[in-house]
């Protein structure tokens, strides 16, 4: 790997290094990129792959070797309900956050600097508040003699208090509120990257406002929607505090079940199997997104 320019440079170097220590060092570094990656690989191995392997091992080895834990989780009605709850709540929360997050992101994107910053500030302040505090606040707002029910009653819209908490409604409301920023931020950056000239050009092609939105703006936002939705979906799957506080016994989600299995029932193998299922669903969701919205693939064009 000794090239011409390196040789000439090494001649001008002072000191007893006649064959060009720089070139030699560079050659060694180039051959050693794999070696240089070792610390990072070790870190990933130690903090990520190892725990996952242990988890998997535990789920198939405790209390005895085999797939018994998985069979129990998928066959028992109670556990199946928990899996279904987890999936349903995560899906509903994802859809609702996108439906609310899209217009909010759009509002921030089109507002002037002052209002844009003000809206973003509100979102940040709520994000910096403790999760526990926010879930608790929703509990107070939503309970049957809480602010919302009393207001609706005062307005004469309802006669009996609505049950807004300790059920799926409460969980969805609380989680939607908490996860909203995770769909707003990617959407906002996608919207800000859309060339304004694109919409002007579409208008000159004869598209009215609605057609511009439908045929140009919305499709351009799809990558942002996908990124935000995946984030919210994956985070919802493993959510713990909010479902515990705002949900009821019939809305138990997977994370709560795992805690219950490990802490109360001491069934480590079953807990590990449940955790591994959660992990597998998350990976599957990520793989699906890569397949549909792979940035490298779409850059190559064609269909």
């Amino acid at each position: 790997m000794q090239t011409g320019p390196d040789k000439t440079r090494s001649v001008q170097l002072p000191g007893p290094a006649p064959r060009g220590w720089r070139a030699a060092l560079r050659a060694r570094l180039e051959g050693a990129t794999a070696t240089l990656a070792i610390p990072a690989l070790l870190l990933v191995l130690f903090f990520f792959l190892l725990p996952v392997a242990l988890l998997l091992a535990r789920s198939i080895l405790e209390p005895e070797a085999g797939l018994g834990n998985y069979a129990e989780l998928l066959q028992s009605g109670a556990y199946r309900t928990v899996l279904l709850n987890t999936f349903t709540i995560a899906s509903v929360v994802t859809v609702v956050t996108v439906l609310i997050g899209f217009p909010v992101a759009w509002l921030i994107a089109v507002s002037n600097r002052f209002w844009g910053m003000a809206l973003l500030g509100l979102i940040f302040i709520s994000m910096w508040t403790s999760l526990l505090t926010r879930s608790f606040a929703w509990l107070i707002l939503l309970q049957s003699n809480g602010v919302i029910n009393r207001m609706l009653k005062g307005l004469g819209l309802i006669s009996e208090p609505l049950s807004l908490v300790n059920n799926m409604t409460g969980v969805v409301i609380g989680m939607t509120y908490i996860l909203l920023p995770f769909v707003i931020f990617p959407l906002l950056s996608t919207m800000r990257a859309i060339e304004p000239g694109l919409l002007r050009a579409a208008a000159l092609c004869g598209a009215n406002r609605w057609q511009c939105f439908l045929h140009v703006f919305l499709p351009a936002c799809v990558p942002g929607i996908a990124a935000g939705a995946l984030m919210v979906f994956v985070m919802s799957l493993g959510y713990f505090i909010t479902p515990v506080m705002l949900g009821g016994s019939s809305t138990m989600m997977l994370a709560e079940l795992i805690v219950h299995l490990v802490q109360s029932l001491l069934r480590w193998g079953l807990g590990a199997a449940a955790a591994f299922i959660l992990f597998a669903i998350t990976l599957a969701a990520y793989a699906l997104q890569l397949r549909l919205f792979d940035p490298l693939r779409s850059a190559k064009g064609g269909r």
Partner: protein, 356 residues
């Protein structure tokens, strides 16, 4: 040519700054008109007002007698090509070209026929199913051109469509745009800051300066009879010498500072005479200048200060006795024996244009 598009005392200000001031132009149907001027002179703003993307502060725009101002941009029946690529990224080339026809709800058969015509017009048949980001810049601009022309708009507006392309591609596309103009008969308003491009393409050129139109005329007139010193300087190189017109019918000039053309009895010092670099023949003073003495009008003498070889021509910078500098372009073989420092005579080949 009778006016089809009338721009009438149009102005546009952004807060304190005035982008377009009191512009009036009459443009005929089927004409290729270029807005030429330096960056920031208001060309795009005027084009955007015609497209409906900017609202004029005062004035009116009329098409075939009716004001365009109350018409929304998407109903103006105008095609536009921008400098930056504005193809819809998630649609294929064919879908992009068909987009305006789809928006106008043309029936499928008609869309299909027209799409094929357009793909053939811009020679992109093989690329119909590609996405825009799989095309080169020049191909993208050709798609944009096809999309702008697809629904047979009354007018095609282009805002520096070739500015981002490299030189050889630019020439190809200029030829293509001109061919499309000739074969479709479309009225084209074209914005550029490139004088050569303007010359090559246009039927008429409007030269912009600080938001106003300095001159609106054919390329030949703009070059040979510029209406102002700005136009003379912006289009081609100009050698301006202080001068005075001798006689309206025979506009011989006397030049200031002793650089007389030899015509006796003239008072120099008023007005400005425009000489283009190709308006002279350079002769060494020691060879045959005897033949070019006072009796012969149309000679200026000076000293060569610089010679630059450019291939097809050689540029020679000559300093006159008055201190004025004149740039002359000559064929290389006529200048082989010239050196900086040589005394030369410049024989004037045609009467200079006297700037009003």
């Amino acid at each position: 040519m009778t006016a089809w598009l009338s721009i009438d005392a149009l102005s546009k200000s952004f807060g304190q700054s005035i982008a377009v001031r009191d512009v009036s132009l009459e443009i005929g149907r089927g004409e290729f008109v270029t807005f030429l001027g330096p960056s920031g002179s208001g060309k795009s703003t005027l084009l955007y007002m015609i497209a409906g993307l900017e609202t004029p502060s005062t004035g009116d725009i009329r098409l075939a007698g009716d004001s365009l101002l109350p018409v929304a941009p998407n109903l103006r029946n105008i095609g536009m090509v921008f400098q930056r690529y504005t193809l819809i990224p998630h649609l294929t080339v064919a879908e992009n070209i068909a987009f305006p026809m789809k928006m106008r709800k043309w029936d499928r058969q008609r869309q299909k026929r027209r799409l094929e015509e357009m793909l053939a017009l811009v020679r992109l048949e093989e690329f119909a199913d590609r996405r825009p980001n799989a095309l080169s810049g020049g191909q993208q601009q050709r798609v944009a051109l096809a999309r702008a022309l697809a629904y047979e708009p009354e007018m095609l507006l282009m805002d520096e469509p070739l500015a981002a392309l490299d030189q050889s591609l630019k020439l190809d596309l200029q030829r293509e745009i001109r061919r499309i103009h000739d074969s479709t008969g479309a009225t084209i308003l074209y914005v550029t800051h490139d004088q050569e491009e303007a010359m090559r393409l246009s039927d008429r050129i409007a030269v912009f300066h600080n938001g106003t139109v300095e001159q609106f005329a054919t390329p030949g007139e703009i070059y040979q009879k510029p209406g102002s010193a700005f136009v003379a300087g912006f289009v081609g190189h100009s050698n301006l010498l202080p001068a005075e017109m001798f006689d309206e019918a025979h506009p011989a000039v006397a030049l200031a500072g002793g650089d007389s053309t030899g015509t006796p009895g003239l008072q120099p010092g008023k007005g400005a005479a425009l000489f283009r670099p190709e308006d002279f023949t350079v002769l060494r003073s020691d060879t045959g200048t005897a033949a070019l003495t006072a009796a012969q009008t149309g000679t200026i003498t000076g000293t060569i200060t610089d010679i630059v070889f450019l291939g097809p021509v050689v540029e020679i910078l000559v300093r006159l006795a008055s201190g004025a500098r004149i740039l002359v372009r000559q064929a290389p073989d006529l200048t082989a024996d010239l050196r900086p420092g040589d005394q030369v005579s410049l024989r004037i080949l045609r009467q200079p244009w006297i700037l009003p």
